[in-house]
């Protein structure tokens, strides 16, 4: 059995007296789309922040393609191919959509300590950026300032940015948050197209999306993984039903 793309070993994190991540152990295989669901406050975003390096863990290890990245800072993990989107949209509002994505491509195209030559004119970077924008359906909006895009367009832009990084692992933190029905469908179709190209760890609340897209699902409650398995297994697990619907329904 080949080694997993991402392995979390007994990851733990506390804020003062509150345990936010409690002995989290998880494997994600190459090409797998793994969804994490759970009630609000379960610690899902904190988990993503630990994996991407924004938050240092208090215990445990993170192995990415076999390498221990637990001590690496966020930018180093990103340089290794770990891409993420943010729960609260985080783009460069003053730059155009194209420039946002081109900057992502630039990060993985040799050194950025070039002091001459207009970066905005680099055709190779712009071509990669345009390709990523086309994948998420934002070609028409390439020249628009990112700050002026609609909410759904910004969520798509976040994914385009991640794609331009040529990711080896994609962490998506509630990409459908705040999007309307149509935009959710578009994003879901997009994720289905991306599935298999690289492992994806998806945090989502929309159950239809989760159960139709995911290869495997993990349920997080109070910082610990309650159950993990195929969508069908998880849906039938009495502990999961209890967590969502209360003890009596189980």
């Amino acid at each position: 059995m080949s080694e997993p793309a991402l392995r979390l070993e007994s990851l733990s994190k506390r804020f003062g007296g509150i345990v936010v991540s409690d002995d989290v152990t998880l494997d994600i295989a190459a090409g797998e789309l793994h969804a994490i669901i759970g009630p609000n406050g379960a610690g899902k975003t904190t988990l993503i922040n630990q994996i991407s390096g924004l938050l240092p863990s208090d215990g445990g290890r993170i192995l990415f393609e076999g390498h221990d990245i637990t001590a690496l800072p966020a930018h180093a993990r990103a340089a290794l191919g770990l891409a993420r989107s943010f729960q609260i949209t985080s783009v460069l509002p003053g730059f155009s959509a194209l420039q946002n994505v081109a900057l992502a491509a630039q990060a993985h195209d040799g050194s950025s300590f070039h002091f001459f030559g207009r970066a905005d004119d680099e055709e190779a970077l712009n071509a990669r950026a345009r390709a990523a924008l086309a994948e998420v359906g934002l070609s028409e909006r390439a020249g628009e300032a990112a700050g002026r895009l609609s909410h759904g367009e910004k969520r798509a832009l976040e994914i385009a940015i991640a794609l331009a990084m040529q990711p080896r692992l994609l962490l998506l933190d509630e990409p459908m948050a705040g999007t309307g029905h149509d935009e959710t469908a578009t994003l879901a179709a997009m994720l289905r197209r991306l599935k298999g190209r690289f492992p994806i760890l998806l945090i989502e609340h929309d159950m239809n999306v989760v159960f139709s897209l995911a290869d495997r699902v993990s349920v997080m409650v109070y910082g610990r993984i309650l159950a993990s398995g195929t969508p069908a297994e998880v849906r039938a697990d009495p502990r999961v039903i209890a967590a969502y619907l209360g003890e009596e329904a189980a």
Binding site: S52, L54, P73, A74, H75, A76, A78, A79, A83, R84, F86, S90, V91, L92, P93, G94, F95, Q99, L103, A104, Q106, A107, H108, S111, S112, F113, H114, F115, F116, G117, R118, A119, D120, E122, I161, M165
Partner: protein
């Protein structure tokens, strides 16, 4: 520091052929002034030289403030370091540009690298304060250099020579050399902000977390920018020492650093042209006002307040709004 005041201008500057007319006009004026002033105009020339020298330092500051979002309250320290490098070498008989200029650049760059490594670990007002602190340290070190005049400063016997010859003794030659320096730094800064490096720096100003998530080690880029700004300040210091034939700790006081920030803001933060315009407005304005009354600060102080309250984007922003209003 992400804020409307700091964000608007950089975008406009990067549009193709943006406002090429403005720098062309500025440099045309600067080139022609000595001719306009005529023969016995040494005082007027030295005044414009001061403008150009501080414009150079202000350009370095605009680079990190306007495009990097790093508000440094210690830029004057680099002017002082450059000046003292030139002054101390001249004192010991090594007054040639070939030695003094690289020394000035090296000293300010090193100081910037060492202090920047510490300063850039902080953000916001803490960053402002720690740059101020290091500026004060440089000030006090210079004040304590008794063999080089201490508080009173050091007079240079002559301007820097170039390969043994003394062309800089001629005021007009020195003027045009300074002008060339300003042009060079201006072109350098313009190239920098459009480059890959500049794009990363500008991105880090808007959203450093996002930049780290892309794979950029923001600290390194900001440190390089900080060192470049410091070296630019050192160049200004070298020219200042030559312009006045004098170096003094006063060149590095926190009030001087404050004045540089005022110059950048007065012209328009993040416009590059604004650094030159702001330096001119500040120096010529205070010169003119001080001829009117010795209490010119009582006019200038409220003027600054009014500029902040009503002229966001400085003089360049004001001009743009007036043009739009006139259409």
């Amino acid at each position: 520091m992400t804020d409307a005041a700091l964000n608007a201008a950089p975008r406009r500057l990067l549009a193709r052929r943006a406002g090429l007319w403005r720098p062309l006009a500025l440099f045309a004026v600067l080139l022609v002034l000595p001719v306009v002033f005529g023969a016995q105009a040494d005082y007027a020339l030295s005044l414009i030289e001061r403008v150009m020298i501080f414009a150079i330092a202000a350009l370095g500051l605009d680079l990190i403030v306007g495009f990097g979002g790093l508000v440094s309250f210690g830029q004057a320290a680099f002017i002082g370091l450059g000046a003292y490098a030139a002054g101390i070498l001249a004192f010991h008989g090594f007054g040639d540009t070939l030695l003094a200029l690289p020394a000035a650049l090296a000293l300010s760059a090193l100081f910037a690298a060492a202090t920047g490594a510490i300063c850039l670990r902080t953000k916001g007002v803490y960053f402002i304060m720690i740059t101020l602190a290091f500026g004060q340290m440089a000030f006090f070190i210079a004040s304590s250099l008794a063999p080089y005049g201490g508080d009173d400063g050091l007079t240079l016997r002559a301007r820097s020579t170039i390969l043994g010859f003394a062309p800089l003794a001629d005021e007009r030659v020195f003027y045009y050399v300074t002008c060339a320096g300003l042009l060079g730094i201006y072109l350098l800064c313009r190239a920098l902000i459009g480059s890959r490096f500049g794009r990363v720096l500008r991105g880090a100003k808007e959203n450093p977390t996002r930049m780290a998530a892309l794979g950029y080690e923001v600290f390194r880029y900001q440190l390089v920018a900080y060192v470049i700004a410091g070296a630019i300040g050192g160049l200004a210091g070298f020219l200042l020492a030559n312009a006045t034939n004098f170096v003094s700790p006063a060149y590095m006081s926190w009030q001087r650093s404050g004045e540089l920030i005022v110059m950048v803001m007065l012209g328009g933060i993040g416009t590059l042209d604004g650094a030159i315009i702001g330096a001119a407005a500040y120096i010529l304005g205070s010169e003119y006002l001080s001829q009117l009354t010795e209490h010119w600060a009582m006019l200038f102080g409220p003027f600054l307040v009014l500029v902040v309250l009503f002229a966001r984007g400085g003089l360049i922003g004001l001009a743009a709004r007036l043009r739009r209003g006139a259409r």
